[in-house]
Symmetry: C2
Subunit: 320 residues, 2 copies
């Protein structure tokens, strides 16, 4: 009998609309990462505990006051399954159930000292395996990997983002911020290369003339990833200029812009400036709202086509 078989279909990425192509790329990544995770998880094979058990132990090691229902919800495990697995773990003396004070149905699960002892070497082995996977990479590449992973996390679940840090710029940061701004305004507002040129030059001048006593940079960082920035430059003894404010789109609406603008205002006031001024464009509505709320007043506006599409340039001032 000659079996009735079919030839495989290649993924014809090039001919798809961009959205579909992205979906396909994400699926490729998912399969790729499924296998990597699979390899890592096999690290637990050496131990007498199963992956499911270890996942529960890990969860308990890093959280407090967890119930069986919490675990099954969060690890995506069937409650019945969970009940049996927990039973086994209790039997082995790795975990203990504590009756909930307020709710007689619930009981809180926690690791015992023995459970912690069992988990420690498993975690160490996991860490060794992850570290081995990073072995071939330069520190720079490891940094990029971590940054790329942080991007994936933040883009898929903005609420997972860690705490915001605001710090001065370090070498390389200014160029990074310029690149992000260029990308943002090109993609969202179709600004052309004249905008890219302008901010590249602003950056070069800032780097050349930077005077830390009279000027400042504020880089907003989340999980070691730059998510926004702003600069204050000296125009003259009386007037400081706020420049290059931006916040990554997925991090907007969490007060980062406000904190950056506030930092500028505080700095300008502290250093004895009388006015803080800035130039922006009407299409940047979110930024305008920030300025307005910080007390800036629109003092001039003129239509222009400096960057391709018709815009209205606006000067905003804040008297300090």
């Amino acid at each position: 009998m000659l079996p009735d078989v079919e030839p495989p279909t290649p993924i014809a990425a090039a001919t798809m609309p961009p959205r579909d192509r992205s979906v396909e790329r994400v699926r490729v990544f998912n399969r790729f990462y499924t296998r990597r995770l699979d390899l890592l998880d096999r690290g637990f094979l050496a131990s007498p505990y199963t992956l499911g058990e270890v996942r529960i132990l890990w969860e308990l090691a890093h959280r407090e006051g967890v119930s069986a229902a919490d675990l099954s919800r969060e690890l995506g495990i069937d409650p019945g399954q969970m009940s049996r697995t927990l039973g086994r773990l209790v039997g082995a003396g790795l975990i203990a159930r504590v009756a909930d004070a307020g709710d007689a149905r619930r009981s809180t699960i926690a690791l015992t000292a023995h459970g912690r002892e069992v988990l420690a070497p498993l975690e160490a082995e996991q860490r060794r395996r992850v570290a081995a996977g990073l072995r071939g990479l330069t520190p720079e590449a490891v940094g990029r990997l971590v940054a790329a992973m942080a991007d994936v996390e933040r883009l898929l679940e903005p609420e997972r983002a860690g705490d915001l840090m605001i710090r001065p710029h370090r070498p390389g940061d200014v160029a990074f911020v310029v690149a992000r701004q260029a990308r943002l305004y090109v993609d969202d507002f179709s600004f052309d290369e004249r905008f890219e040129e302008l901010i590249s030059r602003v950056a070069a001048d800032f780097l050349r003339d930077f005077d830390p006593r009279r000027e400042a940079s504020f880089i907003a960082e989340v999980d070691e990833r730059i998510v926004g920035a702003v600069f204050v430059t000296r125009k003259d003894d009386e007037v400081a200029k706020l420049r290059l404010l931006h916040v990554e789109s997925e991090m907007r609406g969490r007060g980062i812009g406000t904190r950056l603008v506030d930092a500028c205002v505080r700095f300008a006031r502290e250093r004895g400036y009388r006015t803080l001024t800035l130039w922006t464009n009407d299409v940047l509505v979110e930024a305008r709202r920030l300025y307005e709320r910080a007390g800036f007043r629109l003092v001039a506006s003129e239509p222009h086509r400096m960057f391709g599409p018709p815009l209205v340039g606006e000067t905003w001032d804040l008297t300090l």
Copy 2:
């Protein structure tokens, strides 16, 4: 009985050495992505086929000449397990075994037409789920997500990278390249902000003065991610200058640099220049090798400290 329980340990990221901190960040990402993949895989719940079966079907749909052993190796499934699962799938008429011509032990597995029919709606459902996950993102954010995923893949497994494309720059690309160069030279060679300033200004001037008849940009792209670049600018009618060559570290040693330099040489020759010149520094040994192999000759060198650490600036010329 008062159970002997232990309080959880927070991940004290801040106090760790950077390498360990990176390992910890990777582990956090792994757990995060494990859950996401888990959610996606539940998409197959509606069908009468199990995840293992679908994974096999998917693999068969996109590859040719696969044996049972190949599948169990690549999907990380026990050969015994695989044998039984394949048996079930053959029984259901989704796949067929074809005896291998050369090796009587082996048999090649392939999808039947029916198998393809069964898989199609499952794949469509998967795509719908992935697309739903991207729904909340702007196109710009989707682009960043895909780019970040491509970074993760390329950094972890450079050999997975797709085909190289070389194209002219588009708005935003020059600023991006400047940012990558600044980061690279700051991290690897401790260049200071004067380097960042210099290349920002070079970029601004390039964008302002760009003359497509006499000048060119070559952006190397893999999987829609910029992995290298180089520019050719006009110095005078006789002399063209090669500028800002760089290749991302994880993509080196695959001929990308050579192809970029070749593109420059070809362009300069085509446009009637007599000489192609460039300025670089002794520490950039990989780049120097590229220039040498392309026929450039070192014509001048002078020590300097323009960017912080002591360097030897070098001028290389190629007579066209």
